[in-house]
Structure formats: structure tokens, C-alpha cells
Amino acid sequence: MKKRIIVIGGGVAGMQTALRLAEQGVEPVIVEKEPELGGKLRGWHVLFPSFTPAEEVLTALRRRVNESGIEVLTSAEVVGLEPRSVRLADGRELHGDSVVVATGFTLFDASIKEEYGYGIYDNVLTSADLERMFNEGRVARADGTAPRRIAFLHCVGSRDEKVCQQHCSKVCCITGVKQAMEMKKLFPEADVFNFYMDIRMFGPGYEEMYREAQQKYNIHFVRGRISEAAPTIDGRVQIKAEDTLTGRPLRMSVDMLVLLIGMRANDDNARLAEGAGLNRASSGFMAPRDLFLGNVCSNVGGIFYAGAVTAPKSIGETLNEATAAADAAAKYAEA
């Protein structure tokens, strides 16, 4: 009799976990609350640093899940879990030999950072909005005109005590660089400014990409967090910041302000954690058993983590971690 492992979440992490489990001869079941698989990768345009279309990765994963005959429950929300069972919102209860939690993260709601006027001022968008625009093939200001000056703001909803987001979301820096380059490709005449506090280029090829953005694309990097955004009479956005490297306030109006929103822990992490006796980090993300030898394990035997449920991660890292989580879960189930 095959062992059965429940994978909560059908995003990149969940799909990869399930694939790996199937490969190991275990029977996985994916529980996804959305009507389709894909998670946050849906709606993303291209992935850093290679500009690989997100659709490519997503399609491959979905096809393989399909081909492997993995059982997938969609539109199924998990409300409680134990090492050997998962309770769904509709009252159903699934049983297995262990559980992998791959519920990912929630995108930060930029309107909470009121000073930037997201949702209030036209032409203030988020990085996710911009990806959607790229996908739709229509990148323009609210009035349909092409932007001539674009500002990107790093760390929106990251490293910010005011919105209870102390952590660094890790991937926004490189996303900001990537999107700035994409904008510059679309609008070569536009001036692009990236406002940052630190540029955290942690991955392979990222720093090189940053340098290319500076030298080849002439993207301006200004070290300073934007203090506030305000509307101008001609429908643009006035931003204020300090150019900290010169120690002087800086202001300018831009046609488009893109907020590079960070990753937030899912709100229901708290409930799931409480029900199952799982530890959470102060950031709200799930806390692995330990950060070195047990980073895909939870503090409860039989419950494992894959992907951004424990901390912000890139797609590549998530895929690796999913494989590791699957192996750990399978080993547990077999024992």
C-alpha cells in the first residue's frame, strides 16, 4: 500500500513537492484553495535574472503534475491540520501519512502605506500591477500615454516597523532592477529612477544585472526611501525623498510610481499554527525546526514546510526546498 502525503498549497512549492513525492513512489494529494494550480506565479510576466517567461515554468510544472496523475483538490481551503490529517473549510477531512505545508505568502497590500497613495492616486502602481500590465502587453499611464519618467520604490512593506513588516522580502530588489530594465526597453527615452536603501543582490547573476541596469540602461539609483507621494495638477505624482548620499532632500514628479511590494506572512498562518502547535517567527512566517539541519521540518513531527511559507524566497530556492521537503516528508511517512 502506497503512503499518502498531503501537500497544502498548489503553487510552485506545492507542485514541485508533489512531483518529487510521486517520483519517490509516494502518493501525494495537492490541496489548493484557488480554483487552479499555480499560486503567485500566475500573473507574473518574466523571472529574474534570465527573463524566462513565468508561464514557461508554470506550464511545465502543471503539465508534469497532470502527467504524473497526481490528485489535486482545487477550491479547497484548509482550516486545520495535524501530522496525519487536514481539515477543509467544507468540513471534509483528508488523511495521510504526513503533511507538507506549502502555502506560500501574501503580497503586501500597498494601500496600507498610505503616504504613497496607492489606490488613491492614479499612476501609483505595485510591482504586481506592472507584471500584469507586461502580460497584458499594455503598459501605460492611467490616461493611456507613455511614461517619460518612472520611479521604482524598493522596500514597500518590507523592513518597515510601521506596517509590522520588519523582515526583508529579499526578491523585491532584483525585481525592481528587472522591471526597471523592462521599462527602459519599452520606453528607451524614459528616465528611470530606483529609490532604495540597500540593494540586496543575493543571487547568481543578480549583481551583474544590477550593473548592467546602471551602465547599459542608465537607470538612476538613488539611495533614499521615498517619504511621500502626492498628486500634481497635471496628473503626475510628486515624490519626496532624501538623496542620502548627498544629504539633501530630493523631489521630483514622475509619470509612474511603482511600489515594489514585499512578501507578508499569510494571515491564516496564525490559526493553522495554533491548531497544530506549530511555531511561528516574529515575522508571522512559519518557523522551521532549525535553520540549518531542519529547515524544511516544523517543530511537529510529520508536518513539513516547502517554499515561502517560512520566509520570502525566490522561485529557484522554492523549487529546491520543495524537493528537500518532499524527501523529508516521504522518509517520515515510510518510517
Binding site: 498610505e114 503616504e115 489606490g119 488613491i120 511621500e228 502626492a230 498628486p231 500634481t232 495638477i233 510628486q238
Partner: protein, 362 residues
């Protein structure tokens, strides 16, 4: 209409009745009519109970923010105010001044955060005055109270903030005193980024709020930066910056909930006009600046001169005309009982040549 819905997330308890009223140094100096109007509106129009206690004093906030009054001292002064309120049997503290409002918020918060400071304050107060105190049940700025009753006032409105001729809503620039919500965003209606306290009144009474790039910028008072003459370049420059930023929107008037801001936005228009010849209003004069009490008073049909609008440097008559308010131009600069006491000299910023009006009475 601004898409500012977020104000609803910042709500605070505002008492419905029985207020202990603390006056403002600046407001009673420059807008004594506004304080009178506030009391009148509450007591006469809305039938509320309010105590104007002769024993209360300044909170000494201007001294505190000029850094000559220590934190311990101002805490004790604040404690004395609370003690007076307790003594009078009230528990809803309302203050007319934004600096004071900030001070009360800060002191309460400090006592909360650092309980040893509250102990020390009690000790000091007892030692100095033999008094004890209880903290108020609620603390509000008087503009909060006015906001609280904005719909009742709208129901009694004699005039609305619309152009009486065209029926178009008046374009209003609202200016919120920095210490209203920037120190404690949760203590202000609408928070610090999109405060709704004035916008709510304006919208209830038919006006349209103008959002402009420097909306959140300080008026430039900056305490020592105005109080010491050598520093006033800073003070005027900040108002200048705001005025330059709002002028393209052609606002019909400015309203402020902070007495200092209202005074500065008014007086600096005069100074800028004298220095550079620049005026920001239409037809070459200034933009009228009102306090929210004056705005409410006009809406309720109070006589402009009874509200003290003659004490403004920038003439308010164009606004009164737009709103269709009837007034006696000749009565503007009269003393008590219609006594003729002379008139101010005309200035660049003024639109109404005072000569033609007053010489009749002379």
C-alpha cells in the same frame, strides 16, 4: 471627490457632551471670535454643555517646543489642567489648540509608556499645588468635536460651501496642524496621511477638498523658527512653498484646524505680497484663510464680523460673496457698539480698497 476611504480606519471616541474646554494662546490672540463661535455653536446651536474654566492656563506647549520648558514641567502643568477638570466634575477634555492637543496626547502616551514619569508628575503636582488628578476619559481637539457634529450642523446650515451663483462646490484647501495627527496618527480622524477631520466637514457642508502636492507640508511655524526674528526666513519659506503648490488649483479658501497655521497662512500671504508682490488668490488678492469654527459659523449663518473675520489680513469678502452671505461691508472694522476706531492700512494682498468703505462713516 478624493478617493480617500482610509480615514474610516482611523476612528476615535469623541464624547457627545459635557466638555472641559481648554483655550489656545494663539487662537484667543488671533481668532478670539472662533473660540467664542465654538462655544456658541456647541451651547446654543447644538445644546451641549461645555465648561470654560477661568482657572486653567496655557499648556506652555509653545515654551516646550521652544525647548525652554522641560518635559517634567509641562507634564505637571498638564496634570494641573486635568486636576482642574476633575475638580469641576468633567472628564471630557477638549482643547482648542493643536500644539496643546499634541502635548496632551504626548504626555498621556509618555505616562503610559513610562509609568515612572506619571509618578514623578503626581509627586511634582502634589508638592507644588497640593493637587491630585485623574486622567481624562476622553481627549479631543475642538475640530474633532465639530467633525463629530458635522451632520447636525449640515442639517441647520443657512449657507453651504457652494458658489451661490454657479452652484459649483467651493474648492477648499484644508490644512491640518502637524501636531494633530503626525505625532500620534491614531489620535486624529483619518490618520496622518489623509486626515479627514476638516475634509469631513467640508464634504458634509457641500465643498470640494483640493489635494495638492504639498498638502501635508508644515505651515512653517516651527516655534523658535518664527518666534525669533532671525529665523523667520524659514517660517515664511515653508508657507511660501505651500502657497505656491496650492495656487494652481485656484482654491476658494483655506481652512485650518490649527490656530497657528491659520494665522501664518494668512499673515505670510501679506508678507510675501509685500516682499515680492506675489499674491495667490484670484483677481490678484490673497486666498482667504478660515478657521474651522469660522467655516462652521458661516455655514450656520453667523455674522462674519461677529466671527472675527475682520481680524484676518486677507480679505474674506470675495468668499462671502461667492457663498452668497450678506454682510455689512461698512461694519467690518468697527469697535464695540459700532464705535468707529479707525481702519487698517491697505496692503498689496488686500482686494477691497478700505478707503471707499470707511470714509463714509468718518
Amino acid at each position: 471627490m478624493m478617493k480617500r476611504r482610509s480615514w474610516q480606519e482611523y476612528q476615535k471616541e469623541i464624547a457627545d457632551d459635557r466638555y472641559y474646554y481648554a483655550r489656545s494662546c494663539i487662537r484667543q490672540n488671533f481668532f478670539p471670535g472662533s473660540e467664542k463661535a465654538f462655544i456658541d455653536i456647541l451651547q446654543n446651536d447644538l445644546g451641549k454643555e461645555l465648561l470654560d474654566d477661568p482657572k486653567h492656563s496655557s499648556c506652555t506647549g509653545i515654551g516646550y517646543h521652544s525647548d525652554i520648558v522641560p518635559l517634567e514641567t509641562i507634564m505637571t502643568v498638564v496634570a494641573r489642567q486635568f486636576s482642574l477638570m476633575n475638580e469641576a466634575g468633567y472628564e471630557n477634555f477638549v482643547t482648542s489648540c493643536i500644539t496643546s492637543f499634541g502635548i496632551y496626547c504626548e504626555v498621556l502616551s509618555t505616562w503610559n509608556e513610562f509609568p515612572e514619569t506619571e509618578e514623578k508628575t503626581r509627586e511634582n503636582l502634589l508638592k507644588a499645588t497640593g493637587r491630585e488628578f485623574r486622567k481624562p476619559a476622553s481627549l479631543a481637539h475642538t475640530s474633532d468635536v465639530m467633525f463629530h457634529f458635522r451632520d447636525q450642523i449640515a442639517a441647520r446650515a443657512k449657507h453651504r460651501l457652494v458658489n451661490a451663483v454657479t452652484g459649483e462646490p467651493l474648492k477648499v484647501v484644508e490644512h491640518i496642524g502637524c501636531h494633530y495627527a503626525k505625532i500620534f496618527p491614531k489620535s486624529g480622524i483619518g490618520g496622518s496621511e489623509f486626515p479627514y477631520v476638516l475634509a469631513g466637514m467640508i464634504e458634509s457642508w457641500g465643498g470640494e477638498v483640493v489635494d495638492y502636492p504639498e498638502r501635508r507640508h508644515c505651515c512653517g511655524f516651527g516655534f523658535r523658527n518664527y518666534l525669533v526674528q532671525a529665523n523667520r526666513g524659514y517660517s515664511i519659506a515653508n508657507s511660501h512653498k505651500k502657497l505656491e503648490s496650492m495656487a494652481p488649483y485656484k482654491p476658494d479658501f483655506i481652512v485650518a484646524n490649527c490656530p497657528g497655521c491659520a494665522m501664518f497662512l494668512d499673515k505670510w500671504q501679506y508678507t510675501i505680497a509685500e516682499m515680492e508682490g506675489t499674491t495667490y488668490g484670484q483677481n490678484g488678492h490673497g486666498i482667504p484663510v478660515l478657521t474651522y469654527e469660522e467655516m462652521a459659523g458661516l455655514v450656520l449663518g453667523y455674522d462674519p464680523w461677529a466671527l472675527g473675520l475682520q481680524m484676518h489680513q486677507v480679505d474674506v469678502e470675495p468668499l462671502l460673496d461667492k457663498m452668497g452671505i450678506e454682510y455689512d461691508p461698512a461694519a467690518k472694522y468697527l469697535g464695540r457698539n459700532g464705535k468707529y476706531i479707525g481702519k487698517p492700512a491697505s496692503a498689496v494682498v488686500n482686494c477691497c480698497p478700505t478707503d471707499t468703505i470707511y470714509d463714509i462713516r468718518e
